[in-house]
Amino acid sequence: MLRSWYSHLRLRSARRYGAGRVGVFLGTSTSGILESEIAYRHRDAHTGALPADFRYAGAHNTYSVAAFALQALRLAGPAVVISSACSSSGKVFASAQRAIESGLIDAALVGGVDSLCLTTLYGFHSLQLVSAAPCRPFDSARCGISLGEAAAFALLERAPAAPAAEAVLLLGYGESSDAYHMSSPHPQGRGAREAMQKALAAAGVAPAEIDYINFHGTGTASNDESEARAVAAALGAQVAGSSTKGATGHTLGAAGALEAVICALALRAQLLPAGVNTTQVDPALEVNYQLRSRAARLRYVMSNSFGFGGSNCSLIFGRPA
């Protein structure tokens, strides 16, 4: 399975454009830090040195995921990791699109990867943000996040003049900063609203034309509250939406790309995906939260990704006219 995926991407991108014209833009929050956490338990009793087989560049360093992808896919273009916590792999779509638009590259492997490590598990625990039961975004009884692991990838190419009917188009992105707090979102969702409004302006899409929004929707009290306010202000509270984190957990640096892929699948299948685990939508939140998946006419969909440090990103995907 892995091999066929590799060869598919490699053949398609490298053959069509040349390996040097394909960039790599990946998001991750912690890359391979788990190996460092384990290595610290095996420090030399006398010198304190890490075990001889510890790999800094290939595991610890944040860039290691992109270095691996570059090598595995035999690509030779520019490569970078974006690590802005939980907005990382939403933002890779924006950076890659700019690189294509400016002529630096013709295509890009974009994606997000995060695997479980103790830093995030004990870190979120210290903030009292880990739910004891599977997370329930936007539910009255929501009580935090469930940590998940994921890897999600896409090949981003310049859109042809007449895209195929099944094509999924990246129509716009919006990025902003809260400039408010390191680990709490702005209570009114100021930065989130700005990111969504920028994405709408870039895509040339009216707020009422968004047929589905994939919320950041972590399941914490504060995220869902501030996001609901921001979405109501930017799109109107009537927009149908869900957080697929009820199904996947919060995959952190991979969440943006994972949810972009879910949006692409929703557009292709013309299916509006529900949020699972949520049973009683919090009446205090002004949202049109979808509890049952259903067939729907989807032309434009939005995906939100927000991270620590007040880093926000909204993406708009659509089908050709």
């Binding site: 610890h60 360093n61 802005s84 916590a85 924006a94 700019r98 400016s102 210290s126 902003s176 900063s177």
Partner: protein, 267 residues
């Protein structure tokens, strides 16, 4: 190599490095007037942060606040108005060490502050809190190629969004035991304000493209500095910005790519 040429105007520079306390100070060293004398990097306390936040910050925040504010001051722009590109090979090494050490104990307790300071975009978050900047900010890593990756991201933002951008590249030392496997001897931070059009404060125009030519080195002892710290891979560019005649320069980037730049000074 073929490919697009990306250009921008350099409107301001900020620098904090071993033996160089500011860009204004470093110009005399980089143009050869004054010899470079190695001395530990002096990290100023971040006065622009509220006292409660100031206590929690590490070298990354001190480096980026000092260099970012120097660059925007030279450019004559309000820091709050600029999108920002942060790029670092490793982020805050001391904080990372404290977390790994705590997680190796049976208690496995880390504080909320340790945790939120562990994100690679911590410096970007504090920059927003200190300056009130709400435009886009991003946080990049490309191991030893982090300066080149940040420069490319900033140049594509200038090209695609037609906006001025603040680029901040910074690295600082890891404590032991990580220092034993990844030795970065001292802190180095550089900030550039890059703009799509020439303005009153413009210092130079730069044009960049991907190249497979060999990277330029620095004269004398500065070559050791360039090689020792990923953010110091910017030094050959800074040296061209420091001299009136500008010039062509090739910067180290990824193992398979370099960045060729032409620096044209704007008198």
């Amino acid at each position: 190599m073929s490919g697009a040429r990306l250009s921008a105007y350099v409107d301001g520079v900020g620098l904090l490095a071993p033996g160089m306390t500011s860009w204004t100070d470093a110009v005399h060293v980089l143009c050869g007037e004054v010899p470079w004398v190695s001395a530990p990097t002096v990290l100023p306390a971040p006065q622009s942060l509220p006292a409660a936040e100031r206590r929690r910050t590490g070298p990354s925040v001190k480096l980026t606040l000092a260099t970012g504010l120097e660059a925007t001051r030279h450019a004559g722009v309000e820091p709050a108005l600029l999108p920002a590109v942060f790029t670092s090979s490793g982020g805050d090494g001391q904080n990372c060490h404290e977390i790994c050490a705590a997680l190796a104990t049976t208690e496995r307790q880390i504080s909320p502050t340790r945790f939120h300071n562990s994100v690679h975009n911590a410096a970007a978050g504090y920059w927003g809190i200190a300056t009130g900047a709400t435009p886009a900010s991003t946080a990049l890593c490309a191991h030893d190629a982090s300066f080149g990756a940040g420069l490319l991201e900033a140049l594509t933002q200038v090209a695609a969004e037609r906006t001025a951008v603040l680029l901040l590249a910074y690295d600082s030392a890891y404590p032991e035991p990580i220092n034993g496997v990844r030795s970065i001897p001292d802190a180095f931070g550089v900030a550039l304000v890059l703009a799509p059009a020439r303005g009153a404060a413009t210092l130079a125009r730069i044009e960049a493209h991907l190249s497979d030519a060999a990277a330029d080195s620095m004269p004398g002892a500065l070559e050791g500095l360039r090689r020792a710290i990923p953010a110091a891979r910017s030094l050959p560019l800074l040296a061209r910005l420091a001299v009136p005649q500008g010039g062509a320069v090739v910067l180290d980037y990824l193992p398979h790519l370099r960045l060729a730049l032409t620096v044209t000074r704007c008198p």
